[in-house]
């Protein structure tokens, strides 16, 4: 490929030229992630997680479609169809474990990707929509994962479905009607299972659509970078291919190793043994817990044990649980600091890590029964979470004195120009 006098790429292969003239896929691909797409030269490994999330999505879809060929979405057959997959279907055990552990890895990767955004201010202008689309993807992932977990129809599947669908009864007036509508009956039963199957198959493709929008928004202004300052010249960037394609491939290799460790050495570590017991509507397991990636929200939900004014505790817990994600939508406006990257925000940096610890703590508490100290700690954790976003961030932007920003991305790396005065 070479550039013609008109600037449009000319390809040496005649077949490529034929296609390109009719449907410019080759130049589009090159502008999307090839040598024609500039990326900041200083991206660190925290920037690998976006591409890993994309790979995880593709992996889930591929394994999911193949599993769907063997699964039976009926309360009398679902559990045994999953065992049929594990025992009879060629490589069924591998596909099932890849799908289950792939979901966990998908969430790990997305949470790291999210916290990268929090640390480096990737949600700030002009990337507000990019961030909000990401939150939409997170919500869709959570709905998909929840419904997917119900499908094996184990004890945890059934009771998690019962607990979470029952939450909607907290809504005043229409709550009970909504729950009956969700169930398609008077309890979680076959109609619920079958519609969850239909939606679990559908939502990943909706996620793909939102990911496309997410990438379009990203490419409008390009990636953020660890310094949080905009590109000033071509010296500040590198062509995406080969530098970041290779780096992303390396990151993919590490991701695959981690996935393989889970799938082949600890396939049930992140799961709950009770889900190997077929669902029994007449017997609740002693401790109902969701999968690990929902634990922080579960902790927030159960932390609210008291009514506030006219809002009953149950409703308030639901509001705060969903609110913990909704608040993320407003982050670009809640954070008033003109500085993007925490590298230059010494005070915010500490609070970022407190937030990380807070989320880990809430996750830990979500796995424990809501009694005694666990509840108190969960209340403190929930309080800090909302304090961080609703009070701390708006104030900190105004009060914090940021460190001086470098002049450009390449400046800290390349030698300063001879005309610049050395020491001041």
């Amino acid at each position: 490929m070479s550039a013609s006098p008109s600037g449009r790429p000319e390809y040496s292969n005649a077949v490529v030229r034929w296609i390109e003239y009719r449907l410019p896929v080759f130049s589009a691909a090159n502008e999307f992630m090839g040598t024609d797409y500039p990326a900041p030269r200083n991206l660190n490994y925290w920037w690998n997680f976006g591409s890993l999330a994309g790979v995880a999505l593709v992996l889930q879809i591929l394994t999911g479609i193949v599993l769907a060929m063997h699964y039976t979405p009926h309360v009398d057959y679902a559990f045994q169809s999953v065992e049929h997959i594990m025992r009879n279907v060629n490589f069924g055990w591998l596909l099932r474990y890849a799908h289950a552990n792939g979901a966990s890895l998908f969430f790990i990767v997305v949470y790291i990707h999210l916290f990268r955004g929090l640390y480096y201010g990737s949600y700030k202008a002009p990337r507000e929509l990019l961030w909000m689309l990401g939150v939409v993807i997170l919500l869709l992932m959570m709905a998909t994962a929840f419904m997917g977990y119900v499908l094996p129809w184990g004890q945890m599947s059934f009771w998690a479905a019962t607990v979470i669908t029952n939450l909607f009864s907290a809504i005043p007036l229409v709550g009970e009607g909504i729950v009956t509508w969700l169930w398609g009956g008077f309890s979680v039963d076959n109609p619920t299972l079958v519609r969850f199957y239909a939606l679990h198959y559908l939502l990943p493709f909706v996620i793909v659509g939102v990911v496309v929008l997410h990438l379009l928004a990203l490419h409008q202004h390009g990636s953020n970078n660890p310094l949080g300052i905009d590109k000033k010249s071509p010296k500040d960037s590198l062509p995406f291919h080969p530098y970041y394609t290779v780096k992303d491939l390396f990151g993919l290799g590490v991701f695959m190793i981690v996935l393989a460790l889970f799938v082949f050495y600890a396939p049930n570590l992140l799961g709950h043994p009770d889900n190997y017991i077929p669902a029994n509507p007449l017997q609740t397991p002693p401790h109902i817990v969701p999968e690990w990636y929902f634990l922080p929200y579960y902790a927030i939900l159960r932390a609210i044990t008291f009514d506030v004014l006219f809002i009953p505790a149950k409703l308030l817990g639901v509001i705060l649980m969903f609110g913990s994600i909704i608040v993320l939508f407003f982050l670009p406006w809640l954070d008033t600091s003109p500085v993007r990257s925490s590298r230059f925000r010494p005070v915010y940096k500490w609070f970022f890590w407190v937030l990380v610890l807070d989320c880990l703590l809430l996750g830990y508490l979500g796995a424990h029964p809501p009694e005694g100290t666990y509840v108190t700690l969960a209340q403190i954790g929930t309080a800090y979470y909302f304090f961080h976003f609703l009070i701390l961030l708006p104030l900190l932007g105004k009060l914090e004195r940021p460190r001086p920003l470098p002049r450009s991305i390449s400046e800290p790396v390349l030698e300063p120009a001879p005309s610049a005065t050395p020491a001041e």
């Binding site: 591929l62 394994t63 193949v66 009879n88 060629n90 490589f91 069924g92």
Partner: protein, 183 residues
């Protein structure tokens, strides 16, 4: 700069090393993709429980001479006819050059009085008539396919009509005096 000059000198070597790296990366990617895709493709092959149903045992006691039964094997009908001596003789007497798909009767049976065939017409897959006593048996005393008019003789060989080959004889074996295992 000095580095540029030396890289020019070693231009060929650099090119070769890069080519080697491209080749190795490409090969690894190809092998990795194949390793990822193969389990997904193979999972669509018959699973262990389907393969387990691949054999069917049939008890032949009770099937009198001249009678025929139909059993299911791998989801398809299998015709088992207890042939009369006249039927066997008629089958053995046919000259091979009269047959579209030449096969001696002896090649199609283990015990001459038991004819075991997959009851699916080799034309387009209908189930031929001829099992029940009142069924039309075609002009050759065997089976008749009503869909497009294929005629099969007492050895299940196609004699007239659009079917290209004889009715398929599945792999089977006698596991007892009156017991066969198909498949």
């Amino acid at each position: 700069m000095a580095e540029m000059a030396t890289s020019q000198e070693h231009g060929d070597e650099e090119g070769t090393r890069r080519d080697f790296l491209y080749l190795v990366t490409g090969a690894t990617a190809a092998v990795g993709t194949a390793a990822l895709v193969w389990p997904m493709v193979d999972s669509m092959n018959p699973s262990a429980d389907v393969l387990a149903l691949a054999s069917t045992e049939v008890d032949l006691t009770g099937i009198e001479e001249g009678m025929a039964i139909t059993v299911t094997w791998r989801g398809k009908p299998v015709f088992i006819r207890h042939r009369t001596p006249e039927e066997i003789q008629a089958a053995e007497a046919v000259p091979l050059d009269e047959l579209r798909d030449p096969q001696p009767d002896s090649a199609r049976v283990i015990e001459p009085q038991w004819l075991v065939m997959v009851g699916v017409c080799t034309h387009l897959g209908c189930v031929p008539l001829g099992q029940a006593p009142n069924d039309p048996k075609g002009d050759y005393g065997g089976w008749f396919c009503p869909c497009h008019g294929s005629h099969y003789d007492t050895s299940g060989r196609v004699r007239r009509g659009p079917a290209p080959v004889n009715l398929v004889v599945p792999e089977y074996a006698f596991t007892g005096d009156n017991l066969i295992r198909i498949g």
